[in-house]
Symmetry: D2
Subunit: 343 residues, 4 copies
């Protein structure tokens, strides 16, 4: 339910409404707004009697059920865009375009420090890098685990970049949260509901990647899991879906970025590296991502892609990365102009 209070409702009136909601057995999710307060409440079962009671109260402007199955991530609930802040100083979903870059996996101290320098030099604000790696084969490199997390922390120290890294199990959430600034949920875990619930209480922003064959609605439902379990700081990521086409590793559903901007207040970024799986396609897709209005990009780069343990074919080498960021400049400038006008 969304309850809009009348303009200038007093704190006492608000408290009265909250009380009624709780008496009906619902839970207050969030109280939003200044001049006109909006209260979000949640619970199961028929809400009609409660809504009628609320609507009959003098201080209540309107009390309506939320019609979409994802409630608190919907723009129906909150029209103003959410800005997620990571590491205190990186704001995603704001007036500044955010670039996250780094290697697929943390491979060694030298590799991750070099990658971090390179990311920073190109203008990224966040360093990506996997310490826990979901690999199709049990015989492939599974990541450096905590050792990798420590190296990421070291890279943060040296460059000031925030860290985004993947967590694969609810059992690892506390460990990863001790090092990461943003907790990444990989595409294969988008519907690992035990993990999503644990992330609802992890205290760090979550980067939620769309599953290979997940609909936009399912992506929002998974975001709703995290929010409903206590964590409002969710960043969505389109990273390509699985289709019949094999010319690219996945099919980048770029329109999903525009669809998501209509349906949710959460920030949305694009991963052109997994979407295409091919280095040469990353720069043109990045331009498209900026142009369609994504809040940011997450790009795989590597100091030496030929030697990468994983995903070398889609990682940008230093020259290509720096050139791309330079070329993106005018597009990001247009993006910021559009953003300023929209506000």
């Amino acid at each position: 339910m969304i309850i809009s209070m009348k303009k200038h409702a007093t704190q006492q009136e608000i408290n009265g409404v909250v009380e009624v909601i709780q008496q009906f057995g619902y839970r207050i999710h969030e109280i939003e707004g200044e001049e006109r307060v909006v209260i979000g409440a949640i619970g199961t079962g028929d809400t009609s009697v409660c809504l009628q009671t609320l609507e009959s109260m003098d201080s209540v402007e309107k009390a309506v059920p939320i019609s979409v199955p994802y409630k608190f991530v919907s723009r129906e609930f909150k029209n103003r865009r959410t800005t997620v802040t990571a590491a205190g100083n990186v704001h995603i979903g704001n007036s500044k375009f955010v670039v996250m870059a780094g290697p697929c996996s943390v491979e060694s101290e030298q590799q991750i420090l070099k990658s971090a320098e390179l990311a920073a030099k190109g203008g990224a604000q966040v360093l990506r890098g996997g310490a826990f790696k979901p690999r199709t084969s049990p015989y492939d490199f599974q990541g450096m685990a905590e050792e990798g997390l420590k190296l990421l922390a070291k890279a943060r120290e040296q460059t000031g970049l925030a860290i985004v890294t993947e967590v694969m199990s609810d059992a690892d959430v506390a460990l990863v949260a001790a090092y990461a600034d943003i907790m990444q949920v990989g595409a294969r875990n988008m519907q690992n509901f035990a993990l999503l619930k644990a992330l609802g209480k992890c205290g760090k922003p979550v980067l939620l990647k769309r599953g290979l064959s997940s609909t936009i609605r399912e992506l929002l439902m998974s975001a709703e899991y995290i929010v409903a379990h206590g964590n409002n700081d969710v960043i969505l990521c389109e990273r390509g879906i699985r289709t019949f086409e094999t010319a690219t590793r996945n099919t980048c559903d770029i329109a999903a970025v525009a669809v998501l901007r209509e349906l949710t207040h959460l920030p949305v970024i694009l991963d052109p590296s997994h979407a295409t799986g091919k280095r040469s396609l990353v720069p043109p897709l990045c331009k498209a991502g900026v142009a369609i209005g994504a809040d940011g990009l997450i790009v795989e780069i590597h100091p030496n892609p030929q030697k990468a343990v994983s995903d070398g074919a889609q990682s940008l080498d230093p020259a290509l990365w720096l050139k791309m960021m330079e070329d993106l400049g005018p597009y990001i400038a247009l993006w910021q102009k559009d953003k300023a006008q929209a506000v």
Copy 2:
């Protein structure tokens, strides 16, 4: 086979090579280039003996088979980009971005003339509009047929716009070619090989839309049909593919534009209307299409979308169309700058 002649080979030497090719039973497809002539030849069966013979000739620099299954549309065969010229003055695949716009179907004289004016006012160079309509249901409006073609010709007269319209059967090719400046092959007919063969001899440029579930390779093979049957003027069009996602009518495989630019010299345009099926998503997707480097756009507009006989939900109304074209301006300017640098 591609036979590169030595620099400054004489016309007599070229003739000699052509003769050898024909003696082996192959057909000359195209002779390209000025300073250094490249000869494309085609035929079935083992080419190895012929290639050896050619390589042994003094005037021949190199004679190689084409390794991809699409030969004459490949960049292997011709690296320089093709510019397709329609109606004498519209150049697609050139340094100018081309916009095609118009209603889904020609519905009446007033409707198509109004649409044409609107298209021209927004800056389009080509008017789209269907006279023969491929409709899933036999009970839906099937188009005005030749009457519709005549109205399109009238709109061309009044506005100077070139005309692109769909042809659905090889039996109709001559009729449609008598009116259209560009012959459109719809997604459902991309592998209607009888139609493609007929279009090889129609004397007009062809706009070939990608099939709903066709791979990029199959799109190029279908283009190859048209080219191999005598018509080099093919424009490719990404219009969304069919996937599991239902939030949009189709899934826009925008990366296909970048992939096609690597594989073929043919121009590539984007259809954001069929790709999304939803009006509000068209403007952001158009920006993305420009940014990724498409050679143009084909957009559905309607003077009064609420009254459209077909595809009303995805057609832009006049205000949205004019606003979009204005907003696209700076993106097209960037596109042109990138193009100028690439040359």
Copy 3:
């Protein structure tokens, strides 16, 4: 509209109803049934006034609109299953399971005659074989055209098998109909509406293959095209759809057979050869096709698959074909028992 007459309505009463329908501008599609006559009528626009008028007539039991978009192919319109008869003596959709077999393409007289003998020996009633071949590449074998049709006719003469062969263009319908007993529409042409319309008037049964990415609903709409244009004898064919899976050539949507049996009265057969693309998978899939209740199978066989011009990998060799038909025996016996109980 479906108008059910009262039991024992007289011919005069029926004529009266037909007159009313025509006065409202609708067209009579079919008059069905003996004891209780059912009239199917068709036309565009609002049918409510006409339905009211009909319902007020004494001889009319019930007059209802058809709620699905495919009307005359729906079980709503006609619950009794359609039996399509080809060549006078092959009944598809009846109490006998029908097997169609033969090579992908007609390659030579010897090849097609040997194939026909082999088909007959295994127990097939219909010989398949392509004279017009839809090939992805313009450089691949395109079929023997009329020469191939003549060879098929010769094979029919020698074996008594009926002939099913593909027609690719409305321009070829008359030619193919002069030789074939069943006209096949290939998957790529399922929405070639010009072809479907022409087949509505061809006077021969049509085997309509499901498109690679066509929904079941679209398949029925395409069948409706043929029926609405005058031809009730349509056989549907599930032949695999295009998905992300590459272990098989296509993904056999076997449940579609069961779905179609719920939605339409038309017979449905299964093509396990194109569905899998792999010889060894054909026999198990044939068993499944019989078990799920398909009305028949269409199978690729070849006297010498290693030498087949096309689709060799999925063609059964003589030994495998004969063994499979033997093994299918008990399954077909169960099928017939189930059929007998259902009636």
Copy 4:
């Protein structure tokens, strides 16, 4: 690597080979066979020197690398079919067809006991029922958790049926293993690698469902995770994949059953309930599943589907379930005859 010992190699010779393998840093996975022993070894890096060394040993017949990425689940490694035994007396992958049945979720004591009776009455050997439920929405019923497991154990006591139930997190593996006879991995968790690793050490057979958009190869790779981590008792399950078709909940890739039987020695069962999502389609698909050679079925049934908390539309009611099992009888008899001949 697969090392085939010579016939009648002594235990000492086998030990010698094992030693060499370990000296090269590889790990022994399994030693198989009686008359002729086959040793499976595993490890990373180039195996060529080790293979040469082994081949030079007198007691070794052949030493070859495994060419597919899934090693120990492949028929290359082990041609003889695996029989998985659950609860001591249910043998899957053997000469007896196995049926698992039960409700989607455990809802109450009465419901699960009634379901168990019903399952047993129809002839099932295993009771299914979810205590931990992966639900798209955080607001949907999430299962009874341990309470549900206890009820399942009670149902086992009363009926003698073995229990299969889902585990959603590596953190819950020990808890679920304390009650279940077979641990189910749901489609959404097929690539939850942390869970798969934990199941490698759980001591109970695992039923691994294919992911919604997972390839057959990926399914085998996930099975390989479980096997490589110590658990050979894996049962695979085809349950429909996600495609563009919406007439059914998923698209049943029934040919995958036949493909898997070629590629792996592990048993394969079919889930017609999730594959179709519609009650009326379950019985025909079950027949097809038996006919194509699946080792068993897992079917949703409910004493009162109208009141089911989840998946009611696809659950069989008592009458339909009992009728279906009766009708399946002759098909299962044919299955057993085919099986007996194959041995």
